[in-house]
């Protein structure tokens, strides 16, 4: 509950407090005998409509804005609120009581009246559609219910459903024909709308003008773009109106950083997802990988030859990681950054310490824990512990060998097929990157992810357990001596 309030816009929260006061004070008014009597006899709508059914009556605000106070009773009776009486929303108004209220602006009036909606639709801000509006200042307008949902004629769920259908028809009257636009560099783009494609997309229920905002039946601004890319960049901003979470993730990504530097090759929302024919990627892991491969060709080819890539493409194996399992789909970090490097063991460990997955392939689940208990892993976890404190000067962090330094990044292959000698020679190469002039012996210092056992490493095992037993014996001996001396001292007193 606290978290929900945290997410609320502070301005809105202030309004909400007013709303709560309303709810508390409101019953004091309606429980007086006269008003409750009047409501039960339910002539109230007619009483109100006696005046409000007539045209050309205005409410004038202090800044000379005016609105017509006309309510179309027939249309009202078709709306979702047809069973409500006037005074249920206009709370202080009854057939006997018609207080005069003063508002500075029309907007202020709308804000105040939006609190009434809260009485019934109190949970509405937690819904997905509305949640997107709460965090951002630009959406302040959307926090007023009546800006989107007509106060008297609102129909269930959709925003003005009938109008939407009309809108689409209106746009398509031109855009279903093969028209083209021309950019300033003479590039051409067909702006014919493919209805079939759109109907199969996830956005089939959405109105044209909801994405192409600024356009409507009345307005059709003419815009000039240098080239198609510039149009895409401008249109990608549209997606954030609903997919704000994905948008912020993208903002942190390496792609967004390169975009702000003016890189032309950077993918925008539409480059991966398409525009009118947007489909869910869902669980189509091969498709996702191929999408990344469109730009990252070299990496894609290396990955396809690796043990993971082979399993993905040839076996359609669902356990192996594809691009987005490591790099994530939207919040793609710079993989060469130190922060990313520090999280690599955790990333690999997601699968490689999962018994369910590893048992299928007969792989050890102790690879991460053995790494973390050795020199490199320990230093890495200490860095991770320190990270919030020293993140300001990341240069203090030395480079540490992680999984990828020995096993490769995209070109990971199985170590089972190699014999011991070639494995050692490969390992020494990896060691030599940091530890200069090391010999083949040096690789034996690393126990290859094995916990010392009697069969595998007898000398280590004996020393380890020799120490453990000796320490236990030592502690018992010293304790015995201490207790005996105290006991003897107590007796001889």
């Amino acid at each position: 509950m606290k978290a929900i309030f945290k997410n609320l816009h502070p301005e809105f929260l202030r309004h909400l407090k007013f709303g709560v006061c309303y709810i508390i004070i409101f019953p004091l008014f309606i429980t007086t005998p006269e008003s409750s009597y009047a409501e039960k006899n339910s002539t109230i709508n007619e009483n109100c409509l006696a005046c409000h059914n007539k045209r050309n009556q205005f409410k004038i605000f202090e800044n000379d804005e005016k609105i017509e106070v006309y309510v179309n009773s027939e249309k009202y009776l078709q709306s979702a609120h047809k069973n409500l009486k006037c005074s249920e929303c206009h709370v202080t108004f009854t057939d006997k009581n018609h207080p005069e209220r003063r508002y500075r602006t029309y907007n202020q009036y709308k804000i105040m009246s939006s609190h009434v909606c809260n009485n019934c639709h109190y949970n509405i801000l937690n819904e997905k559609t509305h949640k997107n509006f709460i965090n951002k200042k630009e959406y302040e307008d959307f926090l007023i219910c009546t800006n989107c949902h007509s106060p008297h004629y609102t129909v269930t769920g959709d925003i003005l459903y009938s109008e939407r259908e009309n809108d689409k028809k209106y746009c398509l009257s031109c855009h279903s024909k093969g028209i083209e636009i021309k950019f300033l560099n003479n590039e051409k783009l067909s702006i014919k709308f493919n209805m079939q494609e759109f109907k199969n997309s996830v956005h089939s229920e959405i109105n044209c003008t909801e994405c192409h905002f600024g356009f409507s039946q009345e307005y059709h601004p003419i815009r000039y773009f240098k080239n198609r890319r510039n149009l895409s960049v401008a249109n990608a901003e549209v997606c954030r109106r609903c997919h704000f979470d994905k948008y912020t993730m993208y903002q942190d990504s390496i792609h967004s950083q390169l975009l702000s530097k003016g890189d032309e090759r950077v993918p925008l929302c539409t480059n991966c997802h398409g525009y009118h024919g947007i489909q869910k990627f869902g669980k189509e892991r091969v498709k996702i990988t191929k999408k990344c491969g469109e730009c990252h060709k070299e990496v894609y080819e290396v990955y396809a030859k690796s043990i993971h890539g082979y399993a993905l493409f040839d076996e359609h194996n669902k356990d192996v990681p594809n691009c987005i399992d490591c790099h994530t789909s939207h919040k793609i970090e710079d993989p060469l950054s130190k922060k990313f490097t520090l999280h690599i063991p955790e990333m690999c460990g997601k699968c490689h310490s999962n018994e369910k997955i590893m048992n299928k392939y007969g792989l050890s689940t102790q690879v991460v824990s053995t790494y973390l208990s050795d020199f490199h892993g320990k230093r890495l976890s200490i860095y991770l512990n320190e990270l919030p404190e020293i993140s300001n000067n990341n240069n203090n962090i030395k480079e540490i060998a992680t999984c990828v330094n020995c096993h490769g990044i995209h070109n990971i292959t199985s170590t089972r097929t190699l014999d011991k000698k070639t494995l050692k020679e490969k390992l020494v190469k990896a060691c030599k990157k940091c530890h200069h002039n090391v010999t083949l012996n040096f690789t034996d210092a690393w126990l290859s992810h094995y916990i010392p056992t009697f069969q595998k490493n007898p000398s280590l095992f004996i020393i380890l357990w020799g120490y453990k037993i000796f320490i236990i014996a030592l502690v018992i001996g010293i304790l015995l001596q201490v207790l005996l001396s105290i006991w003897r001292y107590a007796i001889s007193r």
Binding site: S381, N385, H436
Partner: protein, 228 residues
């Protein structure tokens, strides 16, 4: 007489040596164990305030060198003193220590009322001394191996590095246990409580000298008489 009541036991050299050993070993235990038990909050706090793990490791190694210097000078001067200046090798473990141990054990069990007659050092003190001696030599050796892994693996099998890792940790624990038992014997032991101050002042009362180091006391008296 006041001076008659106290007998000199430790020279200033021993007092300073003990003090240095105390400071250096406590620093090493602190900087070492926070590296081993890095997951605890206190360790993280200390490491961060040291300025990061790299500096903590550097500090640990530098103090380690100080300990090795202290250790080597101790051996050097004592060996010279024993060989050329006829100093008594009083820390040498001999038969009497085993007899004293059995005697003391019987006393603790309540079978006799006579405690063992000790020479300059009791068997317990000898045990602590040699425990620390062996621990420091093993810790120093394994510490240096861990410091220069590439150098040592050029001449020895690679397995010495995981072995050095195990030795360094478990030997440190043994050293810690010995230190704890030493703290008990020198502070909380009912014979000396509240504190055996002889290593700080250098003097031990005649009463306790007779009680704890009777053999040495008798010998000292004899020497004095022959001198007179």
């Amino acid at each position: 007489m006041h001076t008659n009541d106290k007998i000199r036991r430790f020279s200033i050299y021993r007092i300073i040596e003990h003090l240095l050993l105390f400071i250096i070993v406590s620093c090493l235990i602190l900087t070492g164990f926070i590296q081993k038990f890095y997951t605890s909050d206190i360790a993280t706090w200390i490491i961060v305030n040291f300025g990061g793990i790299d500096i903590t490791i550097l500090v640990h190694r530098c103090i380690g060198i100080l300990l090795i210097i202290l250790f080597l000078q101790h051996i050097f001067f004592n060996v010279i003193a024993i060989i050329y200046y006829n100093m008594e090798f009083s820390m040498l473990i001999n038969k009497d220590d085993f007899h004293n141990f059995i005697k003391d054990f019987k006393y603790y069990m309540g079978k006799t009322n006579n405690r063992a007659e000790n020479d300059r050092y009791t068997y317990r003190q000898k045990f602590e001394y040699w425990g620390v001696f062996v621990s420091i030599s093993l810790l120093a050796l394994s510490g240096i191996i861990l410091w220069f892994p590439t150098f040592f693996t050029a001449y020895f099998p690679g397995l010495i590095i995981p072995i050095a890792k195990i030795v360094h940790f478990y030997q440190a624990i043994i050293l810690l246990i010995i230190i704890i038992s030493h703290i008990y014997n020198a502070i909380f032991n009912p014979d000396v409580i509240p504190l055996d101050s002889s290593i700080i002042t250098g003097y031990l009362s005649r009463e306790r000298y007779i009680k704890e180091h009777l053999k040495e006391y008798k010998r000292k008296i004899k020497e004095k008489r022959t001198k007179d």
